[in-house]
Amino acid sequence: MTLQFDPRFLDAGEAALVVEFGDTVDPVINDRVLALDAALRADPPTGAREFVPTYRSLMIHYDPLGIDRETLVAIVRRMMTGLTEWRGEGTTWTLPCCYDPALAEDLDEAAKILGLTRDDAVALHTKATYRVYMCGFTPGQIYLGDVPEQLKISRRATPRPPHPAGAVSIGGGLGTVVPFVMPTGWYVIGQTPERLFAAERQDAFLIQAGDLVRFEPIDLSTFRDLAQRAASGEIVARKRAA
């Protein structure tokens, strides 16, 4: 079916245009963002430089000396009239994830807040399939929706100390995997040995907005083995195309 789009066009300076479809985390809104992103990437307007899909808007970076704002808006409007429902590029990733207390630094704390046992929290986390709403904040970082209700936890009032690269976290009703050492306001409940960003690897990035992610529990010795293989450039996550 053809979608009825009525986005807002917001300016982020004279060289970036935000096409905003809503202001909430919602799969229908994200579908529209990704549909427009796919259409623009397939037929990029002259002067458009980069397309950045987020939960609820698409940021179009452009060269204002190469295309003027009105022309860009007109092209985007025209493109949207022909858009059909976004079906995704269909890649499902299974990320190995170690929930051992040695790595899952905040798992007990989060489970306690949520009124769950540690094992139940892990079972819930590994049972679900998550949509990647967007990549951002740091290179290769992914933001995950479709978190089970029982695992929806608010963010911390103040950030915790830096976590290791590969931290798998929950917070603000969402999930994330962060490929960098970084302080966070989220709860670190596991760690993946996969490197979501590796500048020297042929595929520097693995996962993109619209992909699906699952977590597969692994023990500490498997984690160490996979981390070593990932360090040498191997991709240790499993990938399944639709």
């Binding site: 982020a12 905003e20 987020t54 967007m134 970082q141 993109q208």
Partner: protein, 346 residues
Amino acid sequence: MRTDASEAILRILSAGPGATLQDAGRHGYLRFGVTAAGPMDQLAHATANLAVGNPAGATAIEVSVGGIELTAEGAPLSIAVAGGEFSLRLDGKPLPPAVLLNLEAGAVLKVRAGGRGSWCYLAVAGRFIVPTVLGSHATHTRTGFGGLNGRALAAGDRLAIERSVSPTPSLSAIAAPWLDRPLDAICVVLGPQHDYFADDQIAAFLAGPWTVSAKVDRMAYYLDGPGLTHARGYNIVSDGIAMGAIQVPGDGRPIVLMADRQSTGGYPKIATIIGPDLGRLAQARPGAVFRFEAVTIGQAVEARRSEAALLARGIVVEPLMRTELSSEFLLGLNLIDGVVGAEGSG
């Protein structure tokens, strides 16, 4: 680009924090969370490169107020420095802040913070031989990639240069009056989330005055001034962040997001600094006072057009012996000439 057979080494003798290799930026990967990095003051970066015969976006050294001291090894290097008003010395003799020079093997160029400005650019005729990461040499130290092993330059680093064929420059001042930019008003385009603020808060934002705080780096400039209040809360669902976006977190203190910013964020962005004014703010030091002025997209594009036209006219250099300088300065330059003449290999 044709190059001569010989390579030269630019050896770092000392470097304050924050000296990095930067080209025009790493573009095309924002959708994966990679921000462009690149120069804090794009106009100064381009000026230094063009003065030495490089493409405007070539890789150059961005020097912070921490300064840098370096020497050439193996062969002389043609070097241009431009940016803030830094204090430069070649083998101890003072130079103007925007200068084109021939750095003989063994000669020492010192760049120190001067009267004003926070960043200057040291361009070398030719090409830095460092790995290209995701299509760029730009250094992003927070995530540790690009430039030289993803880090700032440090004493002992030896940067290999593939020299371009170009005539040995005579010591010259770079005539770049556009780098002498007073801070006064910084132009912004309101939005993308100015509707999170009531009209009186927009007015307060534009009235200022704002002071550049002590918390400034390649990622963000924090501002002090009238606290702003939000009309509709300060948490938004994350969206994209352009360079120059001014986000207002819960404490009401605006933060200008710069070259090494995060790619997305969840605070309302009241306005975005126009491209041509970014370098001007970047050059401001802590304590500098200024206001914001709202302009239309059309006005911002016109300012961009003027800036592009400026550089398209080419960079004029003036051999130093023929410029009007104080007798003290000329005395210093005569000595430099003597040194260069004695050691010059031609």
